[in-house]
């Protein structure tokens, strides 16, 4: 039993040491530095028991000041101006009294026989006051550092919580939308409308088809994966272009350049789609002499995605920069330095996006 409780105690001490290892290391270096420097400067060393006694006392003062005096003086906003000086003064007085008691013990109960004596003069108190203020100011900076770190952690936790909330809301919204209507019913109904519209209105039938394809992409929800085939994004973009062509009577001037080999490259989802959605939202795509272009190509193990479109005369940049920032963040998160993303408006009023991703 005793053995067990001992090993338990031992474990506790070990874990305490490993907990406070930074403190212990700092104090060891500090004390070692002071003892050696002053020892060399004065040319003599004190007894080890002296060092242990006074450094223990000063270290205790340090923590007492940071964990008891300052928190109790500053905990409430009101009365700070009188509480802080009063508490520090009391602490200083207590420090001096304890120093005198310690000196007394050392003089009378140990083998010390040097020239040192207790005298109640200013020069006698100068040294301990200096030491007290010295350690208390260290302790004050330590207190503020602790406070700062704690505040920062609080802010980080809050931010994390906020992001978590956003993710949760987005997820539940998505689940809610999915639960609204059975995919089976949805696509069967769309097929029914498609079959019936096909003979009377080709345009309507086609629009339903493209819409169904786009909805299938969101319902099947490969978006949760980190990487998808570029093919899926290309199909989505083709459907998006087709829907807009149908609605604009095929006057949309948008060229989509890519070769079929590129379909098998993997990429993070919703980058290409978002870029093309932005073109439809903010671009002037109906001028025959100024066609917009989306081009996908590979060059030296790099996937290059470029878009270029004339800017709408009436600017509506709402949401553009946030969409772009979102893409930028997601690219940086996944690819880091392996992706370069830039966008700008050139002198001909063309908005251009260039994205270069290193593949493998």
């Amino acid at each position: 039993m005793i053995l067990i409780s001992r090993t338990n105690k031992f474990h506790k001490i070990l874990s305490w040491i490993s907990d406070k290892k930074l403190h212990i290391l700092c104090w060891t270096i500090f004390i070692f530095y002071e003892v050696i420097i002053i020892g060399i400067f004065i040319g003599k060393f004190q007894l080890i028991s002296h060092y242990i006694t006074f450094y223990s006392f000063n270290v205790a003062t340090f923590y007492f000041h940071a964990h008891v005096v300052l928190p109790s003086a500053l905990k409430t906003l009101g009365g700070r101006w009188w509480r802080l000086p009063l508490f520090i003064l009391l602490e200083l007085v207590a420090y001096l009294i304890l120093i005198v008691i310690l000196d007394y013990i050392l003089l009378n109960y140990t083998s010390y026989n040097g020239p040192f004596k207790i005298e109640f003069t200013a020069s006698f108190f100068a040294h301990p006051i200096y030491r007290a203020i010295y350690f208390m100011s260290f302790s004050t900076s330590y207190y503020f550092l602790l406070n700062f770190l704690e505040e920062r952690k609080k802010i980080e936790d809050l931010e994390k919580q906020r992001l978590n909330n956003i993710i949760q809301i987005a997820k539940s919204e998505n689940a809610f939308l999915k639960a609204q209507i059975q995919p089976h019913l949805l696509f069967n109904t769309l097929d029914f409308i498609y079959q019936n519209a096909k003979d009377s209105s080709l345009v309507a039938a086609e629009a339903i088809h493209s819409l169904a394809e786009m909805m299938r992409y969101s319902v099947d929800s490969n978006k949760d994966k980190e990487f998808i085939l570029l093919e899926e994004e290309i199909n989505q973009v083709e459907n998006l272009i087709n829907l807009h062509q149908l609605r604009k009577d095929h006057h949309v001037q948008l060229r989509f350049w890519y070769d079929d080999e590129i379909r098998n490259i993997k990429i993070i989802p919703l980058v290409l789609t978002t870029l093309v959605e932005n073109m439809f939202k903010h671009g002037e795509l109906l001028t025959e002499s100024h066609p917009a272009e989306v081009s996908l190509r590979t060059e030296h193990d790099q996937l290059i995605i470029e878009t270029s479109n004339l800017i709408k005369a009436v600017k509506d940049n709402s949401g553009l920069s946030s969409g772009m920032e979102n893409i930028k963040k997601r690219l940086a998160y996944t690819y880091g330095k392996n992706a370069e993303f830039s966008y700008f408006t050139d002198s001909n009023q063309y908005f251009k996006v260039i994205l270069v991703i290193k593949i493998r």
Partner: protein
């Protein structure tokens, strides 16, 4: 020899839809269609072998998956028609040859058949007399009125999914016809060449060549696709004046 096929779908609209698609293909012949899967099961197991069975996955009484197991040996190819992709993976386990997600277009339908029967390509029932130097198409921009297009006027044809945009010397026509169909119409004319997955051009109207970009007479610029690069470069080389000076 026409390919024989059977359609099973409990939804009459879906059956009618696929029927019109089949009628548009010259080489596929519909034997019978069923809206009652149990009747289909009885008649197919007792009947002759066929080339293709189109079968819906979600049906009452007996599911398309179960039914397909029972009739698989009676057909060369089995194609699932389904409204959602959840069943796609199971479908392939059943040795299904392909699946069509509803709603699907005629182009997708024809492409699937072509892929499964590469030796008897299903040419859409296109009838154009090739003797004349022109053809008519419906111009979508002009209330689908018929408009005459002379072969010699065509500069380029751009694919817009199921539509094409035909650039002629004088105008631009949008018509409900697939690029693959235009390609068939133009196949006897050496002057036309596909240079990109979505572009066919008339070679004599190339005005400028800048790297992989062709500039046409009407200022249309077209990027040449990887797989078309060689043939177009050969043509340009052929047409380039060579001198002995270096």
């Amino acid at each position: 020899m026409k390919l024989t096929c059977i359609v099973i779908d409990d939804d009459i609209h879906a059956v009618n839809g696929i029927k019109t698609y089949i009628n548009n293909l010259a080489n596929v012949h519909l034997i019978k269609s069923y809206t009652d899967p149990l009747q289909a099961l009885n008649e197919i197991t007792a009947g002759d072998n066929v080339d293709i069975v189109f079968i819906d996955v979600d049906m009452p009484m007996i599911s398309g998956l179960e039914l397909s197991k029972a009739i698989r040996h009676k057909t060369d190819k089995l194609i699932f028609t389904t409204s959602h992709s959840k069943y796609a993976y199971e479908a392939f386990e059943m040795y299904a040859s392909a699946y069509l997600l509803k709603p699907y277009t005629f182009a997708r339908f024809a492409e699937t058949i072509n892929r499964l029967f590469p030796h008897s390509p299903s040419v859409p029932n296109l009838t154009v007399k090739q003797d004349d130097d022109y053809f008519f198409v419906r111009n979508k921009s002009e209330k689908n009125n018929l408009i005459k297009v002379r072969y010699t006027d065509i500069v380029a044809v751009e694919s817009l999914q199921n539509y094409v945009r035909i650039f002629t010397i004088n105008e631009t026509i949008v018509s409900y016809i697939a690029l693959s169909e235009i390609k068939i119409i133009l196949k006897d004319y050496q002057n036309f060449a596909q240079v990109h997955r979505s572009f066919i051009i008339a070679k004599n109207y190339i005005e400028k060549v800048e790297g992989n970009t062709l500039k046409m007479i009407n200022n249309l610029t077209i990027n040449v696709g990887n797989s078309y690069r060689e043939s177009i470069q050969d043509y340009i080389k052929e047409k380039t004046i060579k001198t002995n000076r270096s």
